[in-house]
């Protein structure tokens, strides 16, 4: 309150063509404080951040830097003013090393040559400060997402950022990595840096933020100290309605065994995975990142080389060698990576919707009228909100992309749906819709697998949870056993069964 205002937006509006996406946003970033900017996908968070960092000009309104009105002609102006933004999709040169990235564009020189020793020394220092143990000579392409995040932060440290803007920094981090990040954020704010961050994980917001600003449909609907609002309050403000019933009731009465897998092995990722999946059931699959969950199920669906002792679908043994085989048996996989594996970002919704099930739309020739009808239906059924039907899918918000991806997968009418991280990086309102959809699908007699790294999600949604650890099934939990604690114990290898093995 008394803290100094570093960067402010005053009545900022932004239009893309005829569509106004920000309707007079006011925002205050104060020195030494963490501001959490939250809102549903498409609420205008990204646009607001881009205007703050100088990536995009505002259509109207003022940007105040320490009380002075400024216009950022370019990203460079923003960085000059000490404003650093870390993107969700990192801004690192993949083929350069960590050190080269940190000093990219500001290489230290001694005479005409690079001062490698000094840069090495500084790089070590920055990496130490973020508790990141990667070698400065590692190529960025070889780093995990969380390490990349840390390198981005080290890079921001090296620029002496006065304002640090982070777009969903924790989306790709594990719990302990998030803690390291937050420690670093606290240290930076203690030194007077103003931090703005966005997250869909409201628990984190409550933990780290000093101030919370909620955007809904391009307007600020809540702006107050973090202590003045609860997590439920945030969710309600974001969505505009009560979302306490985030997860649908588990009404499932599992029926016949739909899918039975024995001895599924994906070289290098999963060994001897076996499970059963029943009609009307949602099976959650939990585990740490790297436990081989995605790979195991991709292998099952013929998306990568795999072998299995026996796979039965609806009681009949089947062989699945390629994706086509899986689809023919009604088995369909929804990828966790909607941008790189799920959708053609430069194509329209119609093309994306029907791509997987194109043989259902005409023979050799595509029946475009049928495609349009399917799109009408999908837009209606999945509540996809797009400006124009002809726009490239890459311009849709994350939540709408995810809904489109789900609609695309459903065009094949799978009997068994494997949804990998179906709600990653999307807002709580859309999450609720997707949960309801998946439950509804199960209730209609389909079988559903949900792979998720969010424990709340697995517990809230699934009837039964399979936990994987280092490529193997560590255990299955049902009913009252289904707690965060139990999942963690299995995931890290502290389960009752495992203890004996270890000993």
């Amino acid at each position: 309150m008394t803290a100094e205002q570093v960067l402010c937006l005053r009545d900022v509006r932004k239009s893309f063509g005829p569509v106004e996406v920000l309707h007079g946003v006011n925002l205050d970033l104060r020195a030494g404080e963490v501001l959490a900017l939250i809102g549903e996908n498409g609420a205008g968070k990204s646009t607001t951040m881009k205007i703050l960092a100088g990536y995009q000009p505002a259509t109207s309104g003022r940007i105040l830097l320490e009380g002075e009105e400024v216009t950022f002609g370019s990203l460079h102006d923003g960085e000059e003013a000490g404003i650093v933004m870390i993107h969700q999709e990192f801004n690192l040169a993949e083929q350069l090393t960590v050190e080269q990235n940190i000093f990219l564009g500001r290489e230290l020189r001694r005479g005409p040559f690079l001062d490698k020793r000094k840069m090495r020394e500084l790089t070590r220092g920055y990496l130490d400060r973020v508790n990141c143990r990667v070698d400065p000579d590692t190529k960025v392409s070889a780093l995990s997402n969380s390490d990349k995040q840390m390198v981005e932060i080290a890079k921001a440290l090296s620029r002496d950022a006065r304002v640090l803007i982070m777009d969903e920094p924790t989306a790709v981090l594990t719990g302990s990595e998030t803690e390291v990040l937050f420690d670093q954020v606290r240290r930076m704010t203690a030194q007077g840096t103003a931090v703005l961050f966005t997250s869909h994980k409201l628990g984190e917001v409550a933990e780290i933020a000093d101030h919370v600003t909620v955007l809904r449909d391009g307007s600020v609907v809540h702006d107050d100290r973090a202590s003045e609002i609860t997590e439920d309050g945030m969710a309600t403000a974001m969505v505009g309605r009560d979302v306490s019933d985030l997860y649908p009731a588990k009404v499932g009465r599992p029926g016949e065994v739909m899918l039975s897998v024995r001895g599924l092995t994906v070289p290098g990722h999963a060994r001897n995975v076996g499970f059963e999946l029943r009609q009307g059931e949602i099976l959650g699959v939990a585990g740490l990142i790297g436990a081989g969950r995605t790979e195991a199920f991709e292998g099952l669906c013929g998306l990568r080389p795999a072998s299995a002792e026996r796979i039965e679908i609806a009681g009949r043994e089947v062989t699945i060698k390629k994706p086509r085989d899986a689809l023919d048996h009604g088995l369909c996989y929804l990828t966790e990576d909607r941008k790189l594996r799920g959708l053609l970002l430069d194509k329209t919704m119609r093309v994306n919707l029907t791509l997987q099930a194109l043989d259902r739309f005409g023979g050799w020739m595509i029946d475009r009228a049928a495609e349009d009808r399917a799109l009408d239906k999908a837009i209606d059924e999945f509540d996809i909100r797009a400006g124009r039907r002809t726009m490239a899918v890459g311009n849709l918000s994350g939540g709408n992309q995810q809904k489109l991806l789900l609609a695309k997968i459903m065009q094949s009418e799978p009997a068994i749906l494997i949804a990998d991280e179906p709600t990653r990086g999307i807002d709580i309102g859309t999450k609720q819709q997707i949960y309801a959809f998946l439950r509804d699908l199960a209730a209609k007699g389909h079988a559903v697998v949900v792979i998720s790294s969010e424990m709340q999600e697995v517990i809230g949604l699934a009837d039964r949870v399979l936990v994987m650890r280092t490529g193997e099934v560590a255990g299955t939990l049902t009913g009252d056993e289904l707690t965060e604690d139990a999942i963690v114990r299995l995931a890290v290898g502290l389960g009752a069964n495992d203890k004996e093995k270890v000993a």
Partner: protein, 332 residues
């Protein structure tokens, strides 16, 4: 809902720069040609331009699919020369036993088509199954075919037997209703190609692969098979083009089909297909081919600019086309 749909369709049908650009360029070229030389719009000249465009055009239609699916084929010019040489050798060798007649011509055509498909399959196999980059593979096969035809001709020229040549000639020089065969075949290839690209599953799959291979794989598109098919189809079309080409000169040498690959690629790019794949249109390629031929034709008919500058002007047009399309994309 219906009102909204029609509305968006109407908006989409407003032609953008990337659609208009090649058409406008073609119209301008025709106008310039007509002003410069009164013979330009005469039936003889138009037939000549179209017939000469047909070879590159037929190949460029195939190239459109290869490029749309994210590939490239540098070997088509050499492939055409090699197939022409092979055709001539086989036909000459069969002459004593078969005599001059339709069967021997059909045999030649069969050789061309089969050789084309096999050559395309070889490129496709090395690129998809073995997993070598298209540029490298086709650079290699380009050298191989060119060298093979030189070797077959022993450094000189392979000539079709005179009697056969006279019999085969009408395939290039005659046709039905005054339209010569190359033009008819070109038209058929274009129509089938356009339907395949814009309406058929195959075209949609090609665009999906070129746009993002991983997404295509995860969407149940058989990436390798589709790619292989684009190369095989291009090989087949090279064979078809060669069938039309051999009766024109009746010979093949080391310089047959020289730089055809670049002209075909240039036509595809001028027509608005994206070089890195993901979007292609066959009708654009046709316009690209016509633009390139017309420049050549106009320079030959008028003495304003030396015909030796043909390549320079074509080069400028290619670069301009890409710049215009990029700007249109940035705005759109």
């Amino acid at each position: 809902m219906t009102a909204e749909t029609t509305n968006t369709r109407a908006r989409r049908s407003l032609p953008s720069m990337s659609v208009l650009g090649p058409i406008v360029a073609l119209v301008v070229l025709v106008a310039i040609g007509a002003m410069m030389n009164s013979n330009f719009l005469g039936a003889a000249n138009i037939t000549n331009v179209l017939a000469r465009s047909a070879f590159i055009g037929i190949i460029a239609v195939g190239m459109t699919f290869v490029i749309t699916a994210g590939g490239l084929d540098l070997s088509v010019g050499s492939m055409a020369a090699f197939i022409a040489g092979l055709m001539i050798l086989v036909m000459n060798a069969a002459l004593p036993s078969m005599g001059v007649g339709v069967p021997i011509i059909l045999l030649g055509m069969l050789v061309a088509v089969v050789a084309g498909i096999l050559a395309g399959l070889l490129n496709g196999f090395l690129i998809t199954t073995v997993g070598i980059e298209a540029f490298i593979v086709t650079l290699g096969t380009m050298g191989i075919y060119r060298s093979l035809v030189t070797w077959l001709a022993d450094g000189g020229t392979l000539s079709l037997d005179f009697g056969l040549r006279t019999f085969y000639r009408p395939v290039y020089f005659e046709g039905i209703l005054g339209i010569s065969w190359p033009i008819i075949v070109f038209a058929i290839v274009v129509i089938v190609g356009e339907l395949l690209m814009s309406r058929a599953r195959f075209g949609r799959h090609c665009a999906a692969i070129g746009s993002n291979e991983a997404v295509a794989h995860y969407s149940n598109v058989d990436v390798n098979r589709t790619r292989l098919l684009t190369y095989a189809m291009l090989g087949l079309l090279v064979g078809v083009a060669t069938i039309m080409y051999v009766p024109r000169l009746g010979s093949a040498s080391a310089s047959t089909g020289l730089l055809w690959e670049l002209e075909a690629i240039a036509a595809v790019i001028i027509g608005g297909t994206v070089l890195k794949g993901g979007f292609g249109r066959v009708w654009g390629t046709v316009i690209g081919v016509l633009i390139l031929s017309l420049i050549d034709n106009i320079l030959n008919l008028t003495d304003l600019v030396s015909p030796y500058l043909n390549g320079a002007i074509q080069g400028v047009i290619i670069i301009l086309a890409v710049i215009l399309q990029r700007e249109a994309k940035a705005k759109g």
